[in-house]
């Protein structure tokens, strides 16, 4: 299997603060790769650096066997698309207009649309089930719909790698699964490599092929959900009491938070 992204001894600094500390990992082409970790563990910095938004302080990133530094901004945009958390647009653009903006890296300076661009927009709208909202203004949509529009925009960019920074944050349950299913479908049907940051470990466990657990800018563990989501690993990473058992839906780890008041009872029951 080829590596879509290779990260070697990457260090990132924010002013004097080291936020990503000499980490190395690789993402295989066509896999669903989810980054988890407590707040301030360097997840977003890592993703922004891979997306070319921030400069690294050391180490190397290779995208599709080419150093990230050798990409022009436009080249990179044809390879990697980014969906940020709670993305928004300032002016009352329509859904179709925002999705069309995803075609920018394939167009000239003025963004003049060709038939191929229109076809790509239609396909992205159908894929994300937004066709009926195409002419709706962005500010008339719900948070979940808006996030789906930004995903459609990213799909329209026709990337080989899709980066998503907590796309399900602040969304209700139905929209969370909907967006995760959409990414699963994108991976299955188009072979797109999906790299996502998630705060929801259970969702991550259900969908990820590979998990990367970060803390204080370092890799605590990476591998399959079963390998990463072990009780002791999580408890030391997050510093809270957890119960890990098997998800009845799919044979993957399931994490339950244990409140302070229940701790004694659970310990006595001999679990955790």
């Amino acid at each position: 299997m080829n590596a879509a992204i290779e990260v070697n001894h990457l260090t990132c600094r924010y002013d004097a603060l080291v936020t990503v500390d000499r980490i190395s990992f690789s993402v295989t082409e066509g896999e669903f790769f989810i980054i988890i970790g407590p707040n301030g563990s360097g997840k977003s910095t890592l993703m922004n650096t891979i997306a070319g938004l921030m400069r690294s302080a050391g180490g190397e990133i290779r995208i599709k066997n080419r150093p990230l530094k050798s990409y022009t901004q436009k080249d990179l945009a044809r390879t990697i698309a980014l969906v940020r958390q709670q993305a928004s647009v300032d002016f009352p653009f329509t859904v179709a207009e925002v999705v069309m903006m995803g075609r920018a890296p394939h167009q000239g300076m003025l963004g003049l649309e060709r038939t191929a661009d229109q076809a790509a927009v239609r396909e992205a709208l159908t894929f994300t089930d937004l066709h009926h909202l195409a002419n709706r203004k962005m500010h008339q949509l719900s948070g979940g719909e808006r996030q789906r529009v930004f995903i459609a925009r990213a799909i329209c960019q026709d990337p080989e790698i899709m980066l998503l920074d907590e796309p399900t944050a602040a969304l209700d349950l139905a929209h969370q699964t909907r967006i995760m299913d959409l990414m699963e479908k994108l991976k299955q049907e188009k072979g797109t490599t999906i790299v996502m940051i998630s705060h929801d470990i259970n969702l991550a466990s259900l969908y990820a092929d590979t998990l990367l657990l970060l803390k204080n800018g370092q890799v605590i563990r990476s591998g399959s959900p079963v390998a990463v989501l072990a009780y002791d690993v999580l408890e030391s990473a997050y510093g809270c009491s957890l119960l890990v058992d098997t998800n009845p839906v799919k044979a993957c780890p399931r994490i339950t938070l244990v409140p302070e008041s229940q701790l004694e009872r659970i310990r006595k029951a001999g679990k955790g």
Binding site: L53, A77, S88, V89, D90, P92, G102, P105
Partner: protein, 330 residues
């Protein structure tokens, strides 16, 4: 509809509107002559040399300057609103025009020519204002939107004080009409200067139009725009410098005209939608027409003489600003 077709149709309609307002602007004046007389005087100048001279040497340059000023200030509003992500941003409200005015007055006191001397000092003043504004409003807070406007108000107040200070300490005859100039004045230009100004601003219009699609992409935020292949830093720098440059030129020639960059882009956006590829040409043409109409009002409202055009633009613009502010806070 195809975007090129849309831009063309809207541009043609607004060009017709602009030409009509220009004809109106040229024909309205203190010496009451009807349009037919005027056209006749232009074709056969020997029959009525006085009227032909009034039209060619006074009214036409004045109307042309109003068109350029309206176009530049409206376009300035569009660019600042988009790049600063604030629908109420505008060269005058942000204090960019005020900075340019200080520079222009210093240039006049130093005895520099209108161009390139005063144009350059005005540009330097506007850049200093811009840097101050960006510095004051930087930093991530949810109040950023109001903070930007507040910074603008403060920079503006400071600029006004500096302007009055400079006016007070000099007894320069060239600053005699300063009060008029401060409120926007189109009367002090000849055809050659107006033509030169036009030659200077047209490349700015072209640059901003060529970058208009990146303004669309920037409305999703710098990071998303960058991940769509936009070289954000370079584009923002070029846009801000180009805009400040043309605004400074206009301030150097006709003083402070407020709120134009707020009124015209808002009206256009309501009617034509938010696509900057349409908005940029629409604001150039529509802004020109709007300013000519304001100037006609400034010339005809007072029974004797005339008032500064900036009085008209502020009388219309300031209440609209308050309305938009109230609406944006809802």
């Amino acid at each position: 509809m195809n975007i090129i077709k849309r831009i063309s149709i809207i541009s043609i309609i607004l060009t017709i509107v602009l030409l009509l307002t220009m004809v109106l602007g040229i024909s309205v004046g203190s010496s009451d002559q009807n349009l037919l007389h005027m056209v006749k005087a232009l074709i056969y100048p020997e029959q009525d040399p006085v009227l032909s001279a009034i039209v060619l040497k006074l009214r036409f340059p004045r109307v042309l300057l109003a068109v350029i000023a309206g176009a530049v200030l409206s376009l300035g509003g569009v660019v600042f609103q988009s790049i600063l992500r604030n629908p109420l941003a505008e060269p005058y409200i942000l204090g960019i025009s005020g900075g340019a005015a200080i520079g222009a007055i210093l240039g006049i006191i130093m005895g520099l020519a209108r161009f390139p001397g005063v144009g350059f000092t005005a540009f330097a003043g506007s850049i200093l204002s811009l840097i101050l504004i960006l510095y004051l409003s930087s930093g991530q807070t949810i109040f950023q939107k109001d903070r930007l406007l507040l910074s603008g108000v403060m920079v503006n107040a400071f600029c006004s004080a500096v302007i009055m200070f400079l006016v007070s300490i000099t007894r320069d005859a060239r600053l005699h009409n300063i009060i008029f100039w401060l409120m926007g004045d189109f009367s002090t230009i000849n055809a050659l200067q107006a033509g030169l100004l036009l030659v200077m601003v047209i490349p700015c219009f072209i640059i901003i139009f060529m970058l208009s699609h990146t303004l669309n992409l920037l409305s999703m935020g710098k990071e998303t725009a960058k991940s769509s292949g936009v070289r954000t830093r370079l584009i923002i720098l070029v846009q801000l410098l180009t805009t400040s440059f043309m605004v400074s030129l206009v301030v150097g020639y006709c003083g402070l005209l407020g709120f134009v960059g707020l009124v015209v882009p808002h009206l256009m956006r309501i009617r034509l939608g938010p696509d900057h590829r349409v908005l940029v040409p629409a604001c150039i043409l529509g802004g020109g027409a709007y300013m000519v109409l304001c100037d006609i009002l400034a010339r005809t409202l007072p029974e004797q003489g005339e008032m500064p055009t900036g009085v008209v633009t502020a009388l219309i613009g300031a209440p609209l600003f308050i309305y938009f502010l109230k609406r944006s806070n809802r």
